[in-house]
Amino acid sequence: MKTFAGIDLGTTYSALAVLNDQGKPEVVPNLAGDRLTPSVVWFPQEQEDVARVGAEAKQMVAQQPERVVQFVKRHMGEPAYRFSAGGREWSAVEISALILRKLKEECVQRGEASDVIVTVPAHFDEVQRKATMEAGLLAGLNVLGLINEPTAAALYYASSHEMQGNVLVYDLGGGTFDVTVLEIKGTEVRILTSKGDGYLGGIDFDRTIVRHYDAEHRAAHGTPLLPEAILLSRANATPPDAEVRELYQRLLDLAEKDKRALGARPQITRVLTTPAGETKVTLTRERFEELISAYVAKTEMLVENALEDAKLRPRDVQATLLVGGSTRVPVFARSLEQLMGIPPLAVVNVDEAVALGAALAAGKRIQERSPRALSPVVSAEVSKTRLTDVCNHYFGVLVLDRRSGGHPVVRNTIMLRKNTPLPCSENQVFSTVQANQRSVLIRITQTAEYETDPDYARQIGQFQVPLPPNCPAGFGLKLRYTYDTDQRLHCEAVLANGRSFEGTLQLDGQNATSQSELREKQQKLEKFTVE
C-alpha cells in the first residue's frame, strides 16, 4: 500500500511520519522498532554491495571509522565532497539517498511511503535544497516538495495545540540551529522570518567535550590526546591515521554519552585509558556550560536577529517552542527564557516534532493536488491550519553599475527580498552595456543577508539570453524572478522586442544533474542493498 509521508532528514537522526486515519501525524518506527534512525551509513568490507544504515552503522563508527560516514548533511551542496569506501566514492547526495531509502523501506507499518515532503534547515540555500530533492529522487521517492524544519515543527504545534499570537520556534538539532518567528491567527500560520546556523548543534558540543578530555590529558601527562587539527576542525574531518580515527570516534561516543548524562546529573567522572596512561576526567554541568557558552551566545544573537527581522520585541512573543534533541541541554532553555522572559515549551518529544509537521505538510500538498485522495476526516484535520511561508533568502543578479560616477563596477542587485510571503515575484529592467552585443549572461545569486558586493554573493546559476542582431547599447531587458510555494526559483528574461527566455538554472556546474545522469545514478544505487 502506497502512502504519503513527511521525512525529517537530520544531521544525526532521521525520522518518518505519516498521518493516521484520524489525520493525526505519527512517527513510524523502523524494523528494529526505533522511532529515530541514526543518519549514519556503514559500508561493510565483507559485503561490497550492501550499505547498512542506522543503529548498526552507528555502532561501527569507532571500530571501522574509514567505512562509516555520518553528519553528511553538513556537506549537502558541496560538489567537491566525497566519501571513499570499498573502492567507490560517494557524494553527500548519494549518502543521503541511502538514508532516505532506509526510511522508505523500513518504516512500512503504515504502508510504503512514495510521495514525501522532506525537511531542510531554514538556512539551506538553493543549491543545498536541490541537492536534498535529488537525494529523494535517487532514493526512489516522489518528492512533493521541501519544508523548513522550524516551519514543520510550528505547523505541528499549531495544529495540535491551541496557540495564538507570535511564536518563536527554537530548533537545535544534532548539526544545525534554526530559529523561526511566526504568527498564528485563527487557522492561519504565517511565517515571518527564519534564521539559522549550519554549524551549531549537538555534534559541536560533543567535540567541545573531547577538547576538554584532551586538555585534562595534557595536564595529567603532558601530551595531547589527539592532533590539534582534528580538535579544532569543525567539519567532519577524518584523521588519516587509523589509530587516531578510532580513538577520535570513541571519544566522540563517550562525549555524547556524557553530554546526555549531564542533563540529569550535575557531574560525571570517567577514566580514559590511552597509551600514555590513565586519565581521570571530571566534568561538571557548570564546566560543560562554560565550555559551550560561545554556542549559547550564538543562539542568543540569532534569536535577537530573528526578532529584529520580524520587527518584534521579546515581549511581543506569546510562546517559544523547543525543537530538536539538543534543546535537552538545560543551558539553552535557560538562556532562551532569560532572553524572552517566558519559559519555553516542549510539549512533545522534541526529536519528532519536525517529522510530525512534515507529515502534515505532505497531507496539505496531497490535498491541494488531489483533494479526493484524502478521506474526509483526514482532509478536515489537514485543513485545520493554513500555512504561508516566506522567501528564505535574498535572490539577486550581477550587473554592471555605472552610477558610481567612476569606473563601472560589478554589483549584486537584489531582486527578491528575504521574508517576502510566498509565492512572490519581482521584475526589474536592465539594459545592455555595449552596442552589437550578441547575448547577455544572467548570473543569479543568493545571499542570506542583503549584500551588494559580488564577492560575497553566492552564484547559484546562470543562463544566456540571445539578443537580436545590431542591438544598440542600452537595449532594454526585463528580468523576472519568481519564488513559488515549493521553494523553487524561476527566472525569466523578457527583451524589449517582446521575446522571452526562461532561465534554466544550472547550479554550480558540478551540481547540475540531467535526467539521464539522474537515472544512471539511480540505477547504480539500486544495485546496493540498504539494510
Binding site: 551542496g77 538556512h123 546556523d197 549550519g198 544573537m301 540569532l302 560616477g405 567612476g406 552589437n436 560575497y456
Partner: protein, 448 residues
C-alpha cells in the same frame, strides 16, 4: 656695361640672400628646442592669417555625463590651427591652464601607432606681444618634461557603422607657463600641431581645475574632471611605509605590477602604458627605500592629505584599497601594517565603516599575525578583538550588543560561502563575536 653687370649681380645676390634668409627662417623653429620670443606682432606670419577667434567661456562644471561617441573630425589634414580667445588677466590666473593635446587615430587594425604628435607650437598673440613656445616631442623632451608628459588612452566604443574601428586618444600635457601674455585685453592662444603619419587630431584645452574644453571645427564639448586612477599618490603612500628601511622586495613589486596591470585593464588598456606605469612603480619604490622612516611617514601623510582634497570618496577608498591589496601580497598582515591602515583611514578621511569593510575583504583575519612583542593578556586580546570588530570606546552596553548582533548577522551569512577563505574568515570572526558577547553577558549586572 660693367655697371649693368654689377647691378645685376647685386640684384641677383640680394634675391638669393633673401631667399636663403627666408629658407633659413622657415627651418629655424624645427632646429631650436627652447622657446623664443618675438615681439614683432605685425611681421608674425600667423597673425596675418588669423582665423576668426572662437570665443570660449569656461562653462561651469556640470554633473557627470559620459562622453558621447565622438563625431569623426574632418578635415583630414596633417596640421590643425585653432584659435582661442580668453578674456582676463593671465597674471591673475585667468589663463591658468595646461594645454592638452589629444591625438585621435582611427584604425581598422588592432594595433595603434604611438606618438602621433611630433611637434606642438603654441603661440600667444596679444595686442602688443607675441609669445611662442615650441615643443618638439622627442625622447629628450619627454625625459626632461616627464611630469607633464603623460600617456593615457581610452578605447571608445565602436560605431555602429564600422564595428572594427577603434579610436585611441593620446594625451600630451604641455604647460603654457613659458609663454607671456598681455596683461590687458584679449590674448589669443594658437596651437599648431603636426601629426605623424598623416593622422588627424583634435585639440582640447584643459584648465588646472580639470575642466576640459575640446575645440574642434564642430564645436566644443565639456566634461567634468575625469577621475584619475589613484596609482601615483597611492604608490607614494605604499612605498613610504611598507618596506620601512628596506629595499622593496621583488615579490612585492611584482604584486604591484600585477595590480597596476589589472587596474589598467579596467580603463585604458595598452601594453606600453602598462609598462610605463610599472616602471614608475619601481622608480617610486626605489626612491622611497632611500628615504628615512620619518621622511616616508611625512611623505605618506602629505600624499594622503592631497588625495583627500582632490579625490571624491570613492577615489579615496580606492587608494585605501590599493594599500590593503599591497599589504596582503605576502599572505600576512602584521600589527604594524594594521596600525598604519588606521592612520591612512584617518588621513584619507575614509569613513570607518567603509574602511573596515575594505580591511575585512582584503586583509582578512585569517592573515593576521600576532605581535611577537606584545605580552599575552586577556585585556590586550579583547582590545584587539574589539577594534577588529569595530567596537569603539564609549559605546554603551546596548550599543555594543546591537553592533555585535549586526556583525554576527553579516558573518553568519558568509559562513556557507563556496570560497573556503571567506568561510574560514567568517568562522574566526564569529568565534570572536561570540566570545565578546559571552564576556559581556558574564560582566552584565543582570547575569545570573
Amino acid at each position: 656695361m660693367p655697371i649693368f653687370g654689377f647691378v645685376a649681380f647685386v640684384l641677383l645676390l640680394s634675391v638669393l640672400l633673401r631667399a636663403a634668409y627666408r629658407l633659413w627662417r622657415r627651418f629655424q623653429p624645427r632646429r631650436r628646442r627652447s622657446s623664443r620670443r618675438e615681439h614683432d606682432a605685425s611681421r608674425h606670419p600667423a597673425a596675418k592669417r588669423a582665423a576668426p577667434p572662437v570665443q570660449i567661456v569656461l562653462p561651469p562644471v556640470s554633473s557627470v555625463a559620459d562622453l558621447p561617441p565622438p563625431k569623426w573630425a574632418e578635415p583630414k589634414r596633417s596640421e590643425l590651427h585653432v584659435n582661442f580667445v580668453r578674456e582676463g588677466d593671465p597674471a591673475k590666473g585667468d589663463w591658468d591652464m595646461t594645454f592638452v593635446v589629444m591625438a585621435q587615430a582611427r584604425l581598422t587594425a588592432a594595433d595603434r601607432p604611438l606618438r602621433l604628435v611630433r611637434e606642438v607650437i603654441l603661440t600667444t598673440v596679444g595686442p602688443d606681444k607675441i609669445g611662442r613656445a615650441v615643443h618638439t616631442i622627442n625622447a629628450e623632451w619627454k625625459q626632461k618634461n616627464r611630469e607633464d608628459f603623460e600617456y593615457s588612452s581610452r578605447k571608445l566604443s565602436p560605431t555602429a557603422l564600422d564595428t572594427n574601428a577603434k579610436e585611441w586618444l593620446e594625451v600630451l600635457r604641455v604647460p603654457v607657463n613659458q609663454l607671456e601674455f598681455a596683461r590687458r585685453g584679449q590674448n589669443v592662444l594658437r596651437a599648431r600641431v603636426t601629426w605623424r603619419d598623416g593622422e588627424t587630431g583634435r585639440l582640447i584645452l584643459q584648465t588646472e581645475a580639470g575642466c576640459q574644453i575640446e575645440v574642434t571645427d564642430a564645436g566644443y564639448l565639456d566634461r567634468k574632471e575625469e577621475q584619475t586612477q589613484p596609482e601615483w599618490p597611492s604608490l607614494r603612500v605604499v612605498a613610504a611605509v611598507l618596506h620601512l628601511g628596506q629595499a622593496p622586495a621583488e615579490a612585492a613589486v611584482k604584486q604591484l605590477e600585477k595590480w597596476v596591470d589589472a587596474m589598467t585593464a579596467k580603463g585604458d588598456r595598452q601594453p606600453p602604458m602598462v609598462a610605463y606605469r610599472v616602471a614608475r612603480v619601481r622608480q617610486i619604490m626605489q626612491d622611497a627605500a632611500r628615504r628615512s622612516e620619518s621622511e616616508r611617514e611625512i611623505q605618506a601623510r602629505d600624499a594622503c592629505r592631497h588625495l583627500a582634497k582632490v579625490m571624491n570618496p570613492d577615489g579615496r577608498a580606492g587608494a585605501l584599497e590599493f594599500f590593503f591589496r599591497y599589504a596582503a601580497f605576502d599572505g600576512k598582515v602584521t600589527p604594524k601594517e594594521l596600525n598604519f591602515a588606521k592612520q591612512l583611514t584617518e588621513w584619507l578621511e575614509v569613513p570607518a565603516q567603509r574602511a573596515r569593510e575594505l580591511r575585512d575583504k582584503f586583509l582578512p583575519v585569517t592573515m593576521h599575525v600576532p605581535d611577537p612583542a606584545a605580552a599575552p593578556s586577556a585585556g590586550a586580546d579583547s582590545g584587539a578583538e574589539e577594534s577588529l570588530l569595530g567596537l569603539r570606546p564609549g559605546m554603551s552596553p546596548e550599543q555594543r550588543r546591537q553592533h555585535l548582533n549586526a556583525e554576527y548577522r553579516k558573518w553568519n551569512a558568509r559562513a556557507d560561502h563556496p570560497d573556503l577563505r571567506i568561510r574560514e574568515q567568517a568562522r574566526l570572526m564569529i568565534e570572536k563575536i561570540a566570545g565578546l558577547r559571552q564576556r559581556a553577558s558574564e560582566n552584565s549586572p543582570t547575569a545570573p
